[in-house]
C-alpha cells in the first residue's frame, strides 16, 4: 500500500467531502417493510481511490445488505430508509434505474461468494466477459474477444483462450472467482466490492485470490470494500475495518488499532477467537496492513 491508512471515524467526517472520496456512506439505515424492522442501524464509511476497507461480521450482521445497498440491489421490500450513499459524488437516492445501470460495471463492480452461481451456466464464461466489453465497452466482437483474453490473462488464469470457451460447470471455484474478478474489473471501475469472495474456497486458493485483489488494488488504483466474516482475511488487506453486529457498527477504525487494541467487547471476542485459531501468525505484521505475498503462499 502506497497510501497511508486514513482513519475516518463516522462522527467526525459526516459533513466533509474529499475529491478523492469514491464512496461515502453516512448513517445508512436499511429497513425491512415486511417485518417492519430495521436491519441496519446506521453505517458510515468513506473510501478513497486505492484504499481498502474491510467489513467484518457474522452472517446476519448486515454486512451483505450494506454491500447490496451500495450496489443498488436490495431484495424486494427491503429499502434504504435513512442516511445517504454517495457514489463518485452522486447521491444514490437520486439515481434512476438507468443511472444505476450506467454506474454498475463502469464505476462499481462486485464479486461474491460462490462464484459459480454468479455466472450464467448456459453461456461460456468468455462470452459473458465479451458481452460486457461489447455492450458496455463498445468494443467490436473481435476486439472484445482479444481484450477478454487479455483480462483473463491479467487475473492469472492459465491458458486464457481455453478458459474463454469453457462453461461454468467445467471450471473450478478458484478459476471462476478469477473469471468474476476479470469481469468485474473489465470496465475499469473505481470501486470493487468483494462480498465474502474467498469464503467458499480452500485455503491455498483463498490466499491466491486475496493476493490477486491486493495486486489489482495497487495496479489499478481500485478502491476495495472487502467483506468477510473472517477477521483474518480482512486483516490481510484492509486499511480500515468496520465491525458489524446485528446491524450496528460495533467498532470502526484502522486495521492495526482494531486488531491490537479493540475497544469493544465483541471485537475483543473476535480477535481472541482468531488468536486461538491462528490469527496470531498475522498479528505481528498487520501493522503494515498487508502480508508479503510469498509468505501468504506458504500458509
Amino acid at each position: 500500500m502506497t497510501q497511508a491508512p486514513v482513519v475516518t471515524p463516522a462522527a467526525e467526517t459526516v459533513a466533509e467531502t474529499h475529491p478523492e472520496d469514491v464512496l461515502v456512506l453516512e448513517d445508512v439505515r436499511i429497513h425491512d417493510d415486511l417485518s417492519d424492522t430495521e436491519l441496519v442501524h446506521g453505517v458510515s464509511l468513506r473510501l478513497r481511490r486505492g484504499q481498502v476497507v474491510g467489513i467484518v461480521g457474522e452472517s446476519g450482521s448486515g454486512k451483505s445488505l450494506t454491500c447490496r445497498a451500495v450496489l443498488g440491489i436490495l431484495p424486494e421490500l427491503i429499502e434504504v430508509s435513512g442516511g445517504s450513499i454517495t457514489l463518485l459524488g452522486r447521491d444514490a437516492a437520486t439515481l434512476t434505474r438507468r443511472d444505476w445501470t450506467a454506474l454498475r460495471g463502469a464505476a462499481i463492480g462486485a464479486v461474491f461468494q460462490d462464484p459459480a452461481s454468479y455466472l450464467n451456466p448456459s453461456i461460456t464464461v468468455g462470452k459473458q466477459l465479451q458481452e460486457v466489453l461489447r455492450v458496455r465497452g463498445g468494443l467490436s466482437r473481435k476486439d472484445a474477444h482479444r481484450r477478454a483474453v487479455e483480462l483473463f490473462d491479467s487475473v492469472h488464469l492459465r491458458d486464457p483462450e481455453q478458459v474463454y470457451r469453457q462453461y461454468v460447470h467445467e471450471l473450478s471455484g478458484g478459476m471462476l472467482q478469477r473469471v468474476l474478478i476479470a469481469i468485474a474489473i473489465s470496465l475499469d471501475p473505481d470501486i470493487l466490492i468483494a462480498d465474502e469472495a474467498t469464503t467458499a474456497l480452500d485455503a491455498t486458493v483463498q490466499a491466491e485470490i486475496l493476493d490477486l485483489l491486493a495486486e489489482l488494488t495497487e495496479r489499478l488504483g481500485l478502491a476495495l470494500v472487502l467483506v468477510s466474516h473472517d477477521l483474518a482475511v480482512v486483516a490481510q488487506l484492509c486499511d480500515e475495518v468496520l465491525v458489524l453486529r446485528d446491524g450496528h457498527v460495533v467498532e470502526q477504525g484502522p486495521t492495526a488499532r482494531i486488531l491490537h487494541d479493540p475497544q469493544e467487547a465483541y471485537t475483543r471476542l473476535l480477535v481472541a477467537e482468531h488468536e486461538q485459531y491462528g490469527l496470531e501468525r498475522y498479528l505481528g505484521t498487520t501493522a503494515d496492513a498487508v502480508l508479503p505475498t510469498e509468505e501468504l503462499n506458504r500458509v
Partner: protein, 521 residues
Amino acid sequence: MRVQIGKRRPTAVVVAALVAALGMVLAGCGGSASGGAGGDSTVRWGTKQIQANWDPIVTGSTGATIYLTPIYESLFTVDGERHVVPALASGYEYNAAGDQITITLKPGLTFQDGSPVDAEAVKFNIERIKTQENSALKGSYNNVETATVVDPLTVRLDLGQQDYQIPYLLAVRGGMLPSKTAAQADPGRLNTAAPVGAGPFTVASYDPESKIVLEKWDGYWDAANIKVDRIEINFGVDPSTLTAGLQSGVYNWAQLDPQQADEAEKAGFDVLASVDRHWGIQFLSLNTNKAPFTDPAVVEAVRYAVNPEEYSTKLGFGLAAPAHQPFPEGHPAYVSALNAEHPYDPAKARDILAKAGYADGSVSFDLSGMAIQSGQIAEILQEQLKAVGITANIALLDQANWGKGYYSKSVAASLFGYVGRDSHVQALTEHYDAGGVLNLSSPTTSPEFQEALKAVRATPIDAPDYEAKLQAAAQAGYEHGSTVALYSLASVVAKDESISDPPAIDGYQSWKGVQFTPGTQ
C-alpha cells in the same frame, strides 16, 4: 476504455417485430374467410352420418342409399307418382303366370369404367346378391331364383312364386347396378375404396369415411338432365357445428337434426322437411325369442305402455307425428285401423302384466340402440316403461357394435329406424318375414302374415284390389309381429337458396334437374 451507456441492443426489437409480424399473418387470415367456397356448381354436403360401405349389395336398401344414388343407376327408377319408369332398362314384361319377368336393357350403355351395361352384368349382380357372404339384399331377393341371359340386352328372372313386385325391387334402393368388371376384380375394393356404377357421377377422390368427391360423368344415359358439376360429401360432422358450417359457407347442403331446422330456416336456408320427400319411422324391435318377450303378454303390455305422442312432441320439433305402424300416413301400406288398436293405456299395461303373473318391477331387459340416434328416445321409453313397472336398462352402442347384436338377432330389444323401400312387399318382408333384417324375432314369423304376403305378391300392382291386399298384409304383419312403432319424422335437409329443389320423390335423392341459380353463388 470508453463506457457505453444505454445503447439498445437489437434482440428485443427483433423479437417484438417477429411477434407482431406473426400476429399480422394470423389476423390476415380473416380476409380469406370464404376461401373454401368454389365458384362452380358444387354441392358441398355435410352430414353427421358416416358412410363406410359403397357396394349397394353390402349397404342394403337403407337410408344410406342417398349417398349411393349419385354413383349408381338402377335398372328402373320411380317418378313423382312412384310409378316405375325406365332407367338402364328400357322395359320389362311378365309371363302370364306372373312367375317370370324379362327385362330389356337400353343399348350402348356403359359403366363408369367403360365396361358394358349388359345382361351378363345384371345376372352377375343378382348372383352376387344371392351368394356373396356380406350381401344385405339376400332376403329381399328371396323370391328371385335364377337369372338367365337371353341375349346381350335381355335378361330373364325366374321367380319362386307369383310376384309382381320385382320391377319395384329393381328400382332405386334394391336395384342399383355396380360394374361387373370392378365387382369381379375385387368386391372388397368396390365396397370400401372405389365404387363404380353407371350413375350420373364418378368418384374423383375418396378419403375413407370422411370425404368423397364426385364429379359429373358424361357417359350417364340421362346426362343432359344433370346440371351439378360436383358433389362433395363430408361425413361425420359434429351435429352442433353443421348449421355453423352452413352459415359460414363451408356447406351448401346439410342433413340436420329436427331441432336445427328452425335455426337453418331463420338463417335463410331452404329447409326440405316433409314426409313426401324423406321420412323415417322410429320403432322398438322386441325379440320374441329372448326373455322377457317370449311371453306375448309382455309384448302386449309394452304396446300399451308406450305413448307415441310424447316422442313426437318432445323430439319432433314440429316435424313429427305419433306412429302406430312402420309406415307414415299416405303410404300405400298405411292401415288406419292400426291407430286405434293399441292406444296409450298404462293402466291396461299394468293389468296385462299382473294377469300374466308379473309382480311390479319384475320385468326387466337391456335396451340396445345406436348412441348416435337413439339416446333421447331410449330415455323417454325407459320412463314410459318404468311407469308400468318394466325396467329397461339402456345399453347404447356405436353403429358397428350395435349392428352386430341387432343383425345377429342376439339382443332382446333395440331401437331402430326405417326409411321405406321402393318395393312395398320388400318393406313388409324386411319387417315381418323370416329373414327380414328388421325382424328382430327372426326367424319367427306368423302364418297370418305369410298368407297375406302371398296374396299381395300375386296381385299386379295396377290391380284395383292391390292396396287392400297390401294393407291386409301390413296389418297382419304388425299385429302378429313384435315391432312397436313410436313416431314418424321428416328427414331434414337444409340447402343454400342458390340450389334448386330436387325432385320430390319419396325416399329417393335424385339430382336430375337440380341446378344452381346463376348469380347467387
